[in-house]
Amino acid sequence: MAYENSTGRKLFHAFNYTFLLLTSLLCVLPFVNLLAVSFSGSAAVSAGDVAFWPVDFTTSAYEFALEGGDFLQSLWISVQRVAIGTIVNLVLMVLTAYPLSKTKDKVSGRNIYMLFFVITMLFNGGLIPSYLIVVKTGLIDSIWSLILPGALPVFSMIILMNFLRGLPEEIEESATIDGAGAMQILVRILLPLLKPALATVGLFSIVGHWNSWFDGIIYMNNTSNYPLQSYLQTLLLSFEQLMMKAGRDYTQLLAMMNVRTGRAAQLFLAAIPIMLIYPFLQKYFTSGLVLGSVKG
């Protein structure tokens, strides 16, 4: 291994490590800056003194976020949305993926069903027509408007289907001989085996529901029904109004925080849940990629 010890190689390694380190920092430092801004005094932030460590440490931006009620209200809606939405997604995906993992000899019309679902991946009805349907179904302003239109994520369903196809057929056959019905087989035998795949698509759903904002803006008339990301989206434009609405003495408030510290605090709070499940995300997203590319 003389090669590894050559000067050129060492030089390369030095450069390589530096480059990788800098690039990695580039991906993280903005968040560190955000965190530092959120804990800094407004004067220091306006003066551009804050880099990666809070200046004039204060938690008032966080207190403001938590006392207003709007933030917590939208957080609660997001939590409900993620919980209900993910469960609905998982149930529908499993119910759909299982029959579709069979060949068309076993499930007549299997390929027609498949086409039926796949078309929705290729084509959509667009903004106004989709809105009209949500109105006609009476879901406007209800949390179900954020859940039902995307109740069956087709791509994730296909991942599950491919996973099911990869399981040895004998598992099912022996149970069939014992007289178990399709539903029993699915729940008792296949579901436990599906766990890793379910974790993957479940995390897809969690992240998807947590991060989506546009449907909230369109389908929720009352601002008080906005999920967290929709609420944050409106704050990008109008944080100042929020501060005025707070009913506190505006000057006092301005002395402690400003638009930048206040917004930074709320953005950071919204990023925390993703950071918390990040280790799982990393693991299962990667394996999901592998699952997804299993050939049919």
């Binding site: 090669y3 390369f12 390589n16 490590y17 480059f19 990788l20 990695s24 991906c27 993280v28 903005p30 800056n33 955000l34 801004v37 119910l95 759909t96 029959p99 499930v107 069903y113 796949v118 290729l122 959509n124 009805g125 667009g126 903004l127 106004i128 027509p129 989709s130 009209l132 349907i133 949500v134 039902l148 239109p149 109740a151 069956l152 369903m157 296909i158 491919n162 019905g181 399709a182 947590w210 991060n211 904002w213 546009f214 369109i218 944050l232 989206q233 930074a264 953005l267 919204a270 990023a271 950071m275 990040y278 995300l281 990393q282 997203f285 990629l289 592998v290 590319s293 050939k295 049919g296």
Partner: protein
């Protein structure tokens, strides 16, 4: 025989919920697309008077619309191209790192931005790219005049391209790294004996073996040429950068919702859907032909 029929029946029953929901929320909006060919009058609903191709003609005569097509293609081309080059490059460098602790750390750090929503990312970018934000403060240290990253029409598209690559390259890196680790180490050993240095090994072994994955990822992103990133641009643009930053999706949003041009917005949306659909179908056919990749 009877058991078999019963089994068939339960398979179909399992498919019922998914079929119904998909029908309501994905297929019924297709019917709503007829308003693209009507002079939509909300009072009359889908019985509005027919307008034939008038809406399409109107919009294709708008210089603003042609501009959005160009902007969309321009930004998505560079996003796709750099979205492949950068992670391949990064994965190759990362693959040179021997210590797995470092390797994992770098990988973890660059993967983080991928999971946060564009709302949060936009909030961070607005803060750090502003005139008194972190980046301009930093530039000021080196005596560089503040750059208007989000307010200058000539810079804005590149701000979008770079930040999009920045947010997404961690994902690509993980994909390519997975492909790299599956390369048989025996090949490198053999090359070393033949006297090939690391550079030559990369050219003659690594890249050719990585090629199928690269081709696959490129082909799959074909379907996105008309999606230049609504979530990103909507949250970061302003009228002053419409000239270079307005894309089809943001144009549809403004037309359909802010200006209440329901029919024209739906027509533009339909046009985009049809083109996208062809591109996606094409990309799957290509992916199958070139890389043997099939999703179903």
């Amino acid at each position: 025989m009877l058991a078999k029929l019963k089994r068939q029946k339960s398979y179909h029953l399992m498919l019922v919920p998914g079929v119904i929901l998909t029908f309501i929320f994905s297929y019924l909006p297709f019917y709503g697309l007829i308003i693209a060919f009507q002079d939509y009058n909300p009072g009359m609903g889908f019985q509005s008077p027919w307008a034939g191709m008038e809406n399409f003609q109107h919009v294709f005569n708008q210089p603003n619309f042609l501009r959005t097509i160009w902007n969309t293609l321009y930004m998505s081309f560079f996003k796709i191209a750099l979205g492949i080059v950068v992670p391949v490059f990064f994965a190759l460098l990362l693959n040179e790192v021997a210590r797995s602790l470092f390797k994992r750390t770098f990988q973890t750090l660059v993967y983080i931005p991928n999971f946060l929503s564009w709302v949060i990312m936009a909030g961070i970018l607005i803060d750090i790219l502003g005139s008194d934000g972190f980046v301009n403060t930093l530039l000021g240290v080196f005596g560089i005049e503040p750059v208007s990253f989000l307010g200058s029409p000539s810079i804005f598209p590149w701000t979008m391209i770079v930040t999009d690559v920045w947010k997404g390259f961690g994902f690509g890196t993980v994909v390519y790294l997975a492909a790299l680790t599956s390369i048989d180490p025996g090949l490198y050993e053999a090359a070393l004996i033949d006297g090939a240095n690391r550079w030559k090994q990369t050219i003659y072994i690594t890249l050719p073996l990585l090629a199928p994955t690269i081709v696959l990822m490129s082909v799959l992103s074909l379907g996105n040429v008309l999606n230049a990133g609504f979530d990103q641009i909507f949250n970061l643009y302003s009228p002053v950068v419409y000239e270079t930053g307005d894309i089809i999706d943001t144009y549809v949003y403004r037309l359909g919702i802010q200006q209440a041009q329901y029919s024209i917005a739906t027509a533009v949306g339909l046009f985009k859907s049809v083109v996208s659909c062809i591109m996606v179908a094409l990309s799957y056919v290509l992916a199958n032909k070139v890389a043997g990749y099939r999703i179903f």
